[in-house]
């Protein structure tokens, strides 16, 4: 059959292993880019697979099913650490795009401007890749190899995204810059997650997207924040160090110089948005 929408993972993996099928989730990348008629081969629609549904919290952490839509992520009751991911979920395209588009599709499509990536990087997310050969887990940073390139094998499906319980601590935030407020691909975006105790930074996770071939964590900038008092948070972030870690390009949306200038400011805003209110009153 040239279109299949299996109800369970075993069937989906068997179809995937036959080879030649185009994996389809929400279709908001695939059909927008390809024009449906030009789809290369028969279709494997994964949106009905039972094992790939839902957004669930457990003692192990957070699990986003591989078929979970952006809307499901935005609406789930999640801890404050996920506020950045949920903010991203609400600004991807439009409500119609969010109702169909999936987080897994966003990851596999591997656009440098994919909005899910910076918040998921700050949450130390891992992807669960499954084939008939078995299951493996990769850190998100190891899964994304370059623009439109991932470590997904031809017989694998991205069955779930996992956030370990330890990364659900603290407060998250997300800042997106586009040419207009809505329905726009990011010029740049930043995500932050901050763990605070006694008025000081215990740990910080920072990531920037659309300013390098793959969105990335800024380890050196994060390390420099540890132990700093919250009151100094704004100044503690070194714009030069942040810009130095990036390798933006010129494209239709903005040039590299502009991106290098705005990325540190997006980071600063995301960071301040993570801090408990009184200390950050400007």
């Amino acid at each position: 059959m040239s279109y299949e929408r299996p109800a369970d993972l075993a069937r989906a993996l068997a179809l995937r292993a036959e080879g030649g099928r185009v994996v389809l989730a929400g279709g908001t990348d695939l059909l927008a880019a390809t024009r449906a008629r030009e789809l290369r081969g028969p279709v494997l629609d994964v949106t009905g697979v039972a094992e790939m549904q839902g957004v669930t919290l457990s003692a192990e952490g957070l699990r986003l099913g591989g078929a979970a839509s952006w809307t499901a992520v935005a609406r789930a009751p999640l801890p404050p650490a996920c506020a950045g991911l949920q903010a991203a979920a609400r600004v991807v395209g439009s409500t119609q795009i969010q109702n169909r588009g999936t987080v897994a599709g966003n990851l596999v499509n591997a656009s440098p401007a994919a909005d899910s990536v910076p918040p998921l990087l700050t949450l130390d997310a891992e992807v669960e890749l499954v084939s008939l050969r078995g299951t493996r887990r990769l850190a998100l940073g190891a899964f994304l190899l370059g623009p439109r390139r991932t470590a997904l094998a031809a017989d694998e499906l991205l069955v779930a995204v996992h956030v370990p319980a330890a990364a659900l601590a603290g407060q998250g935030a997300f800042e997106k810059l586009g040419a207009r407020a809505h329905l726009v691909i990011s010029i740049g975006m930043a995500a932050a997650r901050l763990v605070v105790a006694g008025g000081r930074v215990v740990s910080a996770a920072l990531a920037v997207g659309a300013c390098s071939p793959v969105a990335q964590r800024l380890g050196a900038v994060e390390a420099a924040l540890v132990g700093r008092p919250l009151a100094e948070l704004g100044e503690a972030l070194d714009p030069a160090a942040a810009a130095a870690a990036l390798s933006p390009i010129d494209d239709v949306r903005a040039d590299a110089g502009y991106r290098r200038a705005v990325a540190p400011e997006l980071l600063r805003r995301a960071l301040l948005a993570c801090a408990p209110a009184p200390e950050t009153a400007l």
Partner: protein, 210 residues
């Protein structure tokens, strides 16, 4: 709102046909809908795409009616609704997910029919603008509000705006004018009837919830 640009534009026969069909599809259930059987009788050549795949039998439930279709499995729901079922109220603006003109309700949620395969809508309830009015012709409160507030000029975006607005109200995202602007941002109006659209949605929300 009317700045007169419409009257300066030459009205081609194609444009005239399109205006009539928009008005009809927006206001009344389609009469004499062309079903797949009748379409075959008209002798229209089947759309053959290079590299076409074997067709696939699917059944689609649209506006409460079930249609059995034989389709290229790669056909979008948008093309299926327009070309196979004859529901031309659903509009093709960009065919790339960017304008919202093709918005339909699928199992009550607003989705883009240009980014949905027809085959993927099998077993779900699809609602287009033609399915909104009651059997006696009474318009849905959202349709009536768009008329009352003059929330359109050319009308091309209107069916998508109306279906999207119904979704927006049902999601609880139409409580304030700012909410409406934000959550209706997937529906572009080239005529920029936005202020009247926001007023219509706010008014219809009151009528739908009242």
């Amino acid at each position: 709102m009317n700045d007169g640009t419409g009257s300066r534009e030459p009205t081609s026969p194609g444009r005239r046909r399109f205006l009539i069909s928009t008005a009809l599809s927006g206001a009344a259930p389609m009469m004499g809908r062309i079903g797949p059987a009748e379409a075959a009788e008209t002798g229209a050549p089947p759309a053959v795409t290079p590299g076409a795949m074997p067709t696939m039998a699917i059944s689609l439930t649209v506006n409460g009616r079930t249609h059995r279709l034989d389709l290229d499995p790669r056909k979008t729901l948008l093309d299926g609704l327009r070309e196979e079922i004859g529901l031309t109220g659903v509009k093709k603006g960009c065919d790339h997910g960017q304008c919202g003109a093709c918005t339909v309700l699928i199992d009550g949620r607003r989705e883009l029919s240009c980014l949905t395969l027809a085959a993927a809508a099998e077993g779900r309830e699809v609602v287009t603008v033609e399915g909104l009015a009651a059997a006696d012709g009474t318009l849905h409160p959202m349709q009536q509000a768009f008329i009352d507030h003059d929330a359109l000029q050319c009308g091309y975006c209107t069916p998508g705006q109306i279906l999207s607005a119904i979704g927006c109200v049902q999601e609880g995202h139409a409580e304030t004018a700012d909410d409406i602007r934000e959550y209706m941002s997937g529906n572009i109006c080239r005529c920029a009837a936005y202020p009247n659209i926001v007023a219509a949605v706010a008014d219809a929300r009151a009528r739908m919830e009242g």
